[in-house]
Amino acid sequence: MWGRAKNAKKRALRIYFATDLHGSEVCFRKFLAAARVYEADVIILGGDFAGKAIVPVLAAAGSLRARVGGEDVTVPEADWDQLAAGIGKSGLYPVRMNEAELARLSDDSGELDRLFRSEIAAQMQRWCDLAAERLDPAVRCIITPGNDDPVDADAVLAAHGRVECPELELCDLGPVTMASLGVVPTTPWDTERECTEEELAKQIDEMLGRLPGGRPSILNLHCPPYASGLDDAPELDATLKPVIRGGRPSIVPVGSHAVREAIKRYQPVLGLHGHIHESRGAQKIGRTLCVNPGSDYSSGVLRGVVIDIAQDGSCLDFLLTTG
């Protein structure tokens, strides 16, 4: 598949791609370190950067109380940094509050929604600043959203000079042009960036219609193509409970038909996907190499993929990484 003839070409671009960090501080730091360790020219974070949960940390009488990992934890107030770092490691947002604030959040979903948005925006700001501080100036850092990321976060990314956020845009990477889209087909969770397959197909077509003819391309689409082996997830019943068949959870393809059709029609050199954490892998659809590096953010493990691109835009080699 990757014979001598192909490798006789010289590498013009090395991409490192990771996705679905879901607020994990340790994974984002590893993502930045990946540029140096893998000698990447471009690092791409392909969506679902936002965390999923807030851990209320109750401050009272000089101590802090929280429930972490199913256990009640109480520490002196001076240990806030350590406690917050421990909670943030797996993608949770620690938020200090008192009993009254906690009660208000429990009753007011609007207030809770605002708190989530502000925590996510603050984290994105911190991450962009960290990228500016740690990355070699020659390394490009691209972060595009996924369906779980609030739309407000795009503004934080767009406003920061060190990070690029080419959502729904074409992005020149040298030998190739990359098109990015974080929207996914409708999910049972009614997340922020969802649409029907028809609408998704239309958005992809509009974006790819702007591609210069004959120019090699990369599709950075958060949702993997349907039935590609990169989109296998547990089947859920109407109550969102995993369906068990034959003593095992039933696994079904949940990817996008529109994405598959677009890949078959446009045949980009590369498809970069995420969304389905447990479906790490690589598959060829026609001439296109489609990759989903998967995600193991909750364990603090960064899964990614290193891809070498030749001067003519062809894909030289790839390696799925665990770091």
Partner: protein, 552 residues
């Protein structure tokens, strides 16, 4: 963005507390599912155990060990799994996602160890596929005699007599492998349904057998055996024949200890709810309860069945029947046509008076082995996928068929290698196949024990709770190491028993050693070759895939 404060959160995240002061707020994001509770997790564990294999292992134990009794081995093996259960609980807490020893080793010991173990497991599982097919093939004569009895067809019953040679068993194994491969080409949903119904059939056979033993007396059994064998004194004749051929009767502690590895194999699958760790509600607690309940149910069930067998059939007769069929098959055949390897299912067959139960008993083992193999094939292809994605095998191995969405290439590879192993296990004397299987599963258990032992040393961060006082933290980590260490020791004990009784568990012939070297050494060899080939081609270095990324 909708927000909620529901109880269910994704893998690895903290769980909601009951007290409002310690609740967790979760926003509406993809992947939030209603988790599986204890009943579902218990169902997964029990469905993963091939219950009818108990009879194979009872029979093998009686054949290979003079003076064997099953009470102690059944309980001792349960204790080994109970200890391992705690070790896996910590592993599940550290890596709360679907996976297994391959994933644990790669996370905790090193990615290289995981990759090598993964390749080894893929080869081992392929071998296990062939040994399961071999079991099914060995039971074909019994199945045909049962079906012949059910349909009153001597032609069908006698057909089994022509299928006992090594070459016939080899070809029958191939047929079983082909059936499994063909069924695997359906969608995963259809395959899951097939597995489900095959499990239902074997459980039904098991339950009916318990009923038969419970509602018939010892005299009923003696009489039924005489009728089935068309030999009025068949019961006594078998015992007398065994005595005159030097078969030893009674029980001994040493034999019971030596047989423990067989019984460890018996429980294999009982902890498998950890494979769905990511979907369990309060994973550690749910997993613990589900596994403990499953082990408890199996102990009660199997010890009960063994007690019934002893009471209705008699230990002396079972020892005589299992051994006479091996030491003097001609003498045995003159007394009865009941297959000597059929064990409890054979006893059920002769007690049953209707064709339905005869068919149920006759087909229980082959159908159970097909169910097990279907599940194994899925796991094996997944492990092959992981190796292909790690670039240790060609990426084409993981190709998904566009029409059936099945991993056709991986299934084909497993099938070809599995057929090779079928001929090897049938034609070459590798000692006891059951024992080799026990060895593989003991080694997998050993890998889990090692991963748990090293967890606090290598990846304490995965199990530490933020804010835990230093003394409590040290105590907690010591506890994890201790449980992992005990599991490792018990797994080592099982491996030792297997190796120490090589005369039973596999003679050290050049064929058996070569096979073991191939099976266990395939991982490192493939890794070294893949790395070397990629270096020559100036491709991305494989070690890069396993490089630890510094977060700071």
């Amino acid at each position: 963005m909708t927000s909620s404060s529901e109880a269910s959160v994704p893998s690895g995240a903290a769980r909601a507390g009951t007290s409002p002061s310690t609740r967790l707020f979760v926003r509406q994001t993809s992947g939030l599912v209603r988790d599986l509770g204890i009943p579902a997790a218990t169902g997964i564990s029990l469905a993963s155990v091939a219950v009818v294999n108990t009879f194979i292992n009872f029979n093998a134990g009686l054949t290979d060990f003079a003076k064997a009794d099953m009470y102690l081995p059944l309980v001792a093996a349960a204790i080994i799994w109970l200890t391992a259960m705690f070790a896996y609980r910590y592993l599940l807490r550290a890596v709360p996602r679907a996976g297994g020893e391959y994933v644990y080793l790669s996370r905790i010991v090193s990615p290289a160890a995981g990759a090598v173990a993964g390749l080894g497991i893929a080869v081992v599982f392929t071998y296990v596929l062939s040994t399961n097919a071999h079991f099914a093939a060995q039971f074909t004569p019994f199945m045909l005699s049962g079906l012949g009895a059910a349909f009153h067809s001597t032609a069908v019953a006698n057909a089994g007599n022509h299928l006992t040679s090594n070459i016939a068993i080899a070809w029958l194994s191939v047929v079983v492998m082909l059936i499994v491969a063909a069924l695997s080409l359906f969608s995963v949903r259809v395959v899951a349904r097939i597995i489900f119904w095959l499990i239902v059939l074997q459980v039904l056979a098991f339950v009916v057998l318990i009923g038969m033993l419970a509602f018939n007396s010892h005299a009923d059994f003696t009489s039924a055996l005489a009728t089935y064998s068309q030999h009025p004194g068949a019961y006594g004749a078998i015992i007398a024949g065994a005595k005159s051929n030097g078969v030893v009767f009674g029980t001994s502690i040493a034999a019971a200890v030596a047989i423990i590895p067989f019984m460890v194999l018996n429980y294999n699958g009982v902890l498998y709810s950890y494979y769905v760790g990511g979907e369990l509600r309060r994973p550690g607690r749910t997993y613990l309860y589900a596994s403990a309940i499953s082990i408890g149910v199996l102990v009660v069930l199997w010890v009960g069945v063994w007690a019934l067998l002893r009471a209705r059939v008699g230990l002396t007769f079972m020892q005589a029947q299992a051994n006479l069929g091996v030491v003097n098959p001609d003498a045995y055949a003159k007394i009865t046509s009941l297959s000597s390897v059929s064990g409890g299912l054979g006893y059920g067959m002769i007690l049953s008076g209707d064709p339905i139960t005869k068919i149920l008993f006759a087909t229980a083992v082959p159908l159970a082995e097909i169910a097990v193999n279907l599940a194994f094939l899925t796991v094996t292809t997944r492990v092959l996928f992981a190796q292909a994605f790690d670039r240790l095998l060609p990426v084409g191995v993981a190709k998904i068929g566009e029409r059936n969405h099945a991993p056709n290439v991986a299934i084909g590879i497993v099938l070809v290698i599995g057929i090779g192993f079928c001929f090897l296990t049938s034609l070459v004397n590798l000692g006891s196949i059951v024992a080799l299987q026990s060895l593989f599963f003991a080694l997998i258990l050993l890998a889990g024990g090692i991963a748990a032992t090293m967890l606090p040393i290598r990846r304490a961060d995965l199990i530490e709770t933020p804010g835990m006082p230093e003394d409590a933290r040290k105590q907690w980590l010591r506890k994890v190491t201790l449980v992992g260490g005990v599991t490792t020791l018990l797994a080592l004990f099982t491996v030792y028993e297997l190796v120490a009784h090589s005369s039973v568990y596999g003679k050290f012939s050049w064929e058996s050693i070569l096979t073991l070297v191939i099976v266990l050494g395939a991982g490192p060899v493939i890794y070294v070759i893949a790395r070397s080939v990629r270096r020559q081609r100036n491709s991305l270095d494989l070690t890069m895939a396993m490089r630890e990324l510094p977060p700071e």
